[in-house]
């Protein structure tokens, strides 16, 4: 077929109906595919999402493992590993902010916004493609954790439930990061703004030590930290203990953060100026 014939065979897209839910999903998948496709072509990112968590597991386990005793857990690993898993997956959400800021600075967001696609597609696509990287990171961590002696001591359902809970929590954080990524001015600013606050959030929690060992004024903060709820629920599920109210609190935070920040981000996306 000649070029001219091919061109003639292509339909003109002039009449394009307003996108429904199916179109929105389709556009989001197209956008997600863009990110998934380039994961293997981005070795720095791949390295960071696998090496950093491995380092954390090994360092925390061997450096602090001997010094920290946690009531109710004879073995620090069983206490620590779920916390590290959760921290790493939440940390990973900062890629959402950095990636969006990068697309924004390169004019890609403008290009996508000028296309007749659902306004939610770019963000939903990005957030969902981040799950793929999170799964990769999680798999690496599980292997390393097993090698140093960690075991899922509860049921299979508990192990899966705890993992799904963490993923959902990480996704809800990706929405916070999407908002940050589109609100700060540059990639550098996004990488700082997406990361710094996650240190106090994850360390002033039950992830590494029992909050009871913290100064009195810090304890209520640590105890009510949404991240503490997540870690407690996951830790219980992984170790075959009842997660109790922590599970309900975790679900509440996941839903609240997702609803609020997805709405804010999509609103911001339709108005964002480069």
């Amino acid at each position: 077929m000649t070029t001219a014939a091919r061109e003639a065979a292509t339909p003109n897209m002039a009449s394009h109906p307003k996108p429904g839910l199916a179109d929105a999903w389709r556009d989001a998948s197209t956008e997600a595919m863009r990110h998934l496709r380039i994961i293997p072509r981005n070795p720095e990112l791949l390295g960071f999402s696998t090496i950093q968590p491995v380092m954390f597991i090994v360092l925390f386990n061997y450096v602090f493992g001997g010094a920290i005793e946690v009531p109710g857990f004879s073995d620090y690993q069983q206490f620590l590993i779920p916390g590290i898993f959760a921290q790493t997956m939440v940390f990973n959400s900062s890629f959402t902010a950095v990636g969006l800021a990068d697309d924004l600075s390169k004019g890609l967001i403008d290009r996508l916004r000028s296309l007749p696609i659902a306004r939610s597609a770019v963000l939903v696509g990005r957030v969902f493609s981040d799950i793929a990287r999170t799964v990769l990171t999680f798999t690496t961590m599980v292997i390393v954790a097993f090698l140093i002696g960690f075991r899922f001591e509860g049921s299979v359902a508990g192990a899966i439930g705890g993992t799904v809970l963490m993923m959902a929590f990480a996704i809800s954080f990706s929405w916070i990061q999407a908002f940050i990524g589109m609100s700060v001015g540059s990639v550098e600013a996004a990488s700082a703004a997406s990361f710094i606050w996650m240190f106090p959030l994850t360390f002033v929690s039950s992830a590494f030590v029992d909050p009871a060992s913290m100064p009195g004024w810090l304890q209520p903060i640590a105890n009510h930290n949404p991240f503490t709820r997540l870690v407690n629920a996951t830790r219980a599920l992984y170790n075959g203990l009842p997660p109790g109210e922590h599970l309900w609190w975790s679900l509440f935070w996941i839903a609240a953060i997702t609803v609020v920040f997805a709405a804010l981000s999509i609103r911001r996306f339709s108005r964002v100026t480069n």
Partner: protein, 341 residues
């Protein structure tokens, strides 16, 4: 029929009036050049017309469809190439094009054939399967434009399409834009260069501080500012009257003494060449020894000086990465005389 109509567009950012009541119309199939210095409001106008930015006031339509009320329908009719080559750097040229086809819900075979046809048209077939971060600036720009054409837009917006390109790539880009226009696509392009508007645009709108200060063909604009000018320097000041009379029949207006040099004359000439060799011959015959002859084409700066009485100046942070000194400094590159042979 008018493909683009805008009326009274206003967009203020605090004290900065990016748009302050801009009107424009673009007849279908024509090329409009939006000419203005950095910060004149060109990019803001394009962003409003392409649904990216909500104006504070005013209205706009593309092919009769209201930009503010039916942005989605407008988006399916336009193509936008912004100031940055907005390509996914870690994907190949072909993948980039097919991705846009997917966003327009073309089926797989249409996506593929459209991508191949565009790659061929923009001379990117050889580089089609290389990731685009290996492309040159000119190649990225071409891919960028190709991406705006996947769905055959009826109106194409090009925001400073040649900014940052070397002269060869710039001329390549000009022929690409000419071809598109010949195919019947309506084109709105912004530029800081009168020469570029001259080359490409059927009509030009000069904007300054968010309002239109002149409109017409490039020739009409040039007429208003006096068109091309010849600048002749001779070796000896005492021969200046000899030179003056030798040139009299070749120029179209008053011959003036250059205000920087006592042995240099400046005069308007008709556009189109041939004057320089004739001037050299005439001066030789008259016995005035010629040191230098140049033809100076009017620049955006001249247009501004004539229309506003002041130099073109950048007056806000228009997100352009071009060197604003080009528009600011009277001694800068924009003001260098161009020599024609």
């Amino acid at each position: 029929m008018d493909a683009v109509v805008a009326a009274g567009l206003v967009k203020h950012y605090g004290e900065t009036k990016a748009l302050d009541g801009l009107d424009l119309t673009v007849p279908a199939g024509s090329v409009l050049g939006l000419l203005g210095p950095n910060g004149a409001g060109k990019t803001t106008a394009v962003r409003v017309l392409t649904t990216l930015l909500q104006p504070d006031a005013g209205s706009a339509s593309i092919d009769g469809i209201d930009v503010l009320r039916e942005p989605h329908a407008v988006r399916s009719r336009i193509g936008l190439t912004g100031q940055y080559a907005a390509v996914e750097e870690r994907m190949t040229g072909r993948e980039n094009l097919e991705m846009i086809g997917q966003f327009f819900h073309l089926d797989k075979s249409s996506r593929q054939s459209r991508a191949s046809a565009l790659l061929e048209r923009f001379d990117l077939t050889e580089a089609a399967d290389r990731v685009t971060n290996t492309y040159s600036g000119g190649m990225r720009r071409r891919l960028d434009i190709a991406m705006s054409l996947v769905a055959r837009p009826s109106v194409l917006f090009l925001d400073e399409p040649t900014t940052g390109l070397d002269p060869r790539a710039r001329i390549g880009m000009w022929s690409v834009i000419e071809e598109l226009s010949n195919d019947g696509t309506t084109v709105v392009l912004t530029t800081q260069y009168l020469e570029e508007a001259d080359q490409l645009a059927d009509n030009v709108i000069v904007i300054d501080r968010g309002v239109k200060i002149a409109e017409g063909s490039v020739d009409e604009l040039k007429d208003r500012i006096g068109g091309d000018r010849i600048r002749v320097s001779i070796a000896r000041v005492e021969n200046i009257d000899l030179a003056r009379s030798a040139l009299a029949s070749l120029v179209t207006g008053e011959i003036e003494l250059d205000n920087e040099s006592q042995n240099t004359l400046v005069a308007p000439i008709r556009a189109g060449g041939g004057v320089v060799p004739a001037a050299i011959r005439a001066l030789d015959e008259a016995g005035a020894e010629v040191v230098d002859v140049e033809v100076r084409r009017p620049t955006l700066d001249d247009v501004f000086l004539t229309l506003t009485g002041r130099r073109a100046e950048g007056n806000d942070d228009d997100s352009s990465d071009t060197d604003s000194s080009v528009a600011n400094s009277p001694t800068s590159a924009a003001h260098q005389p161009e020599v024609t042979s």
